[in-house]
Amino acid sequence: MEKIMDQNNSKIANEESLTFFGRITAGVSHEVNNVNAIIRELAGLMEDLLYGAEQTGQINTEKFKEIVVKILEQTKRGEKNIKRLNRFSHSVDDPRKLVNLNDLINDISDLSRRFARLKHVSLVSDQADNTCEVHTSPFLLQYAIFTCIDLLINSSDEYGTIALSFSENGDHFDVRISGEIKKENEQNPEREDLVRRLMNELNGRYIQEKDDEENDVLVLKLPKENGNLH
């Protein structure tokens, strides 16, 4: 029987959800601030060049063009970050809605990339050719995926790789987050318990397995329910 997620009966404490929300928004705000800092320095560099041009009567148009291209690149980077943050913020609007798994995985992967980068870990996501849609809580599903990514970031060695993918598996979609859990960092009972509780909220399951290359794979089994595969 389909379980309706009732926020009052949720096993996920508001404090835990807020911590996740806070980490993501803080990460994006750092990225956006870096973009602003770069644009500010590029504008300052233009100002310096203009001052020099006023003194010499000569203007280096090539240098100006180069700076304009860089400003445009940074503006696009900033726009992407803001759009992602906006989609993430709206993921709490509906406790349950039709979610495009491709887009959701892409977004949470991008939102998590900064955390991986700070530990010198690469984060890659494989996109499915087909569009998979599922009725679920976008916020809780992103929270579960992020917790798995975070678990692997903190358990793997520097310069490791974490891969995200998903596939159709009978009456489930499997979201797979693979990496390497080092023996000395293997114990993550609190995070794993959190993933289990999150998947329970989503009527799904969490399992851990090894792939053919002996990588640790954290699998989130999400019921299709009313999901559609196009």
């Binding site: 750092h30 601030n33 602003n36 800092a37 320095e41 590029l42 560099l45 940074q74 700070l118």
Partner: protein, 143 residues
């Protein structure tokens, strides 16, 4: 005229490239590093009037890098630059010997003035150390 030499450390390549161009246009000699380990290596090999460190970097963060640089060169004048400064982080940075803590993006004139102060302080420490060494030598010779 002797130029001031600074080390600028941040994982945002575009940021350090642009800021270093602007600093060089103001007469500074600027070396850059994109992570803490590289910064520690450069700080061990060269004399810098000031080192400007980003707080959030991959691998060793700004505070860890600050501690290691200060361990190998206690007179290093380190300025921390961060996206969002908190009182706790500022206190921690100062406790570990940072001379200043600036929010990014920082005003270049303010940064230049802090670099000048850091450079003056480093020169003062250098002179004081030289004076102490001379006094020690004179004392050991009984002069």
């Amino acid at each position: 005229m002797a130029y001031q030499r600074v080390l600028l450390v941040d994982d945002e390549v575009e940021f350090i490239e642009t800021l270093s161009q602007r600093m060089e246009a103001r007469g500074l000699k600027v070396d850059t590093a994109t992570n803490g380990s590289e910064a520690i290596k450069l700080a061990g090999e060269n004399y810098y009037d000031a080192i400007i460190l980003d707080l959030n970097m991959p691998g060793l963060d700004g505070i860890e890098t600050l501690k290691k640089i200060r361990d190998q060169s206690p007179d290093s004048q380190i300025i921390l630059l961060t996206g969002y400064a908190t009182v706790e982080k500022s206190v921690e940075a100062v406790k570990h010997g940072a001379v200043d803590f600036l929010e990014k993006p920082a005003d270049l004139n303010k940064l230049m003035s802090i670099i000048q102060e850091a450079s003056d302080k480093k020169m003062m420490l250098f002179e004081k150390r030289a004076e102490d060494d001379i006094k020690k030598i004179m004392k050991s010779k009984g002069w």
